[in-house]
Symmetry: C2
Subunit: 206 residues, 2 copies
Amino acid sequence: KLSGPTLRRLPRYYRIVCEHFERGEEYIRSVEIARRLDVDETQVRKDIAAINYSGKPKIGFNTKEFKAHLESFLDLSNAKKAFLIGAGSLGLALAKYTGFNKYGLDIIALFDVDPHKIGLKIAEKEIFHISEFTEKVCEQDIKIVIIAIPGEEAQKMATLAVNSGIKAIWNFAPINIEVPKEIIVANQDIAADFVILSMKIDENKG
Amino acid sequence: KLSGPTLRRLPRYYRIVCEHFERGEEYIRSVEIARRLDVDETQVRKDIAAINYSGKPKIGFNTKEFKAHLESFLDLSNAKKAFLIGAGSLGLALAKYTGFNKYGLDIIALFDVDPHKIGLKIAEKEIFHISEFTEKVCEQDIKIVIIAIPGEEAQKMATLAVNSGIKAIWNFAPINIEVPKEIIVANQDIAADFVILSMKIDENKG
Ligand SMILES: NC(=O)c1ccc[n+]([C@@H]2O[C@H](COP(=O)([O-])OP(=O)(O)OC[C@H]3O[C@@H](n4cnc5c(N)ncnc54)[C@H](O)[C@@H]3O)[C@@H](O)[C@H]2O)c1
Ligand SMILES: NC(=O)c1ccc[n+]([C@@H]2O[C@H](COP(=O)([O-])OP(=O)(O)OC[C@H]3O[C@@H](n4cnc5c(N)ncnc54)[C@H](O)[C@@H]3O)[C@@H](O)[C@H]2O)c1
């Protein structure tokens, strides 16, 4: 079992290795990965050893093989179907984002309460009324839901999702939702990522 | 100077401490922070010691004081002005997001090329034509830009931003933009965060 921080770094390694592979570079060295991600090189080596992969000394990791190893370890080629609650600005941006396919996320349908949106399609995904949510979860055997609605509605919809058989919630609303222990929740807050950027600006001024 | 991973964890500690403080809880213990964020407790203690803060043994950290300490260390109360290029779905969601204020980000204006959008306002921020970008950067002394446009346009707009005097770029377009060494770039890819969630689902299946 990998630690949380190691697991969080692996997709970032994957994005870098993909870029080098798509540029036609046959090898990538841990020092290059470390530089691009602002991580210690020994940490990069430890992480890669932890997923039972190794490169050639002085040459590095074969980009094609390492990419395939990460895809298999992170189960990226096995698409996970998800529903998305909230067809507002954020929901639409997520539904349209082609970057999700590479990481095995397939948003199948959206749900909203606004009558003007029901029946519309975005990137070939239909917007249904929230009253159809439970029935559709059972019909399509959906385990993952993304929540992109205002904070005051989020807890209620999380409870609806859990009662419908959802096992994991990716929550963008700015509150921490409470769910039973066995349900997996990831609270996404991109504002926290802004802080890292702004600290780096302060360092440069330093 | 803190390590990258430690710096990345601090805003997440801040969000947890804010929640406990707003719920009226006077103290929070490192074991609670560790549990909520799936991080080792010794790592939490090391991080907090690294920013010269300490709690009371067995009781924990005073939520009010710890919150203020993090605000000062992360410079959260000093709002950083930013421009946002791209008033599409993602750009609108970012412009409307009230969560940014807490972390010191103040999006002042948006820029786009679509004539139907020019002159509109979103959350009291005006959408200007991209041709006015350079002039407005100088006028308002802006150092940060957020890029939320399609990948094929992103490099060109990043170069425009750097030539206009921008010092830091928060890039959401799905390509890694190339900029001179002294410019700070953060490439945001929320798809990588999805992988963590989906690995946890696999772990539960066991
Ligand atoms: N975590 C982050 O990093 C981040 C970033 C941006 C926005 N947000 C958050 O995402 C959420 C959505 O933002 P937005 O800009 O898209 O808002 P929006 O107002 O544009 O869209 C919200 C949508 O949710 C729908 N809705 C409301 N209640 C509903 C319910 N009970 N069931 C189904 N649909 C419902 C509305 O009809 C609307 O279409 C907000 O909570 C915002 O704070 C989070
Ligand atoms: N990194 C992530 O996690 C993530 C998540 C979602 C979307 N995205 C990306 O964000 C970008 C925006 O997504 P969206 O759904 O808002 O797309 P969108 O098509 O709704 O909006 C794009 C906007 O950019 C404008 N635009 C195009 N070229 C421009 C230029 N040269 N200067 C100024 N404005 C210009 C368009 O007029 C439009 O308003 C895409 O590249 C998408 O892949 C990234």
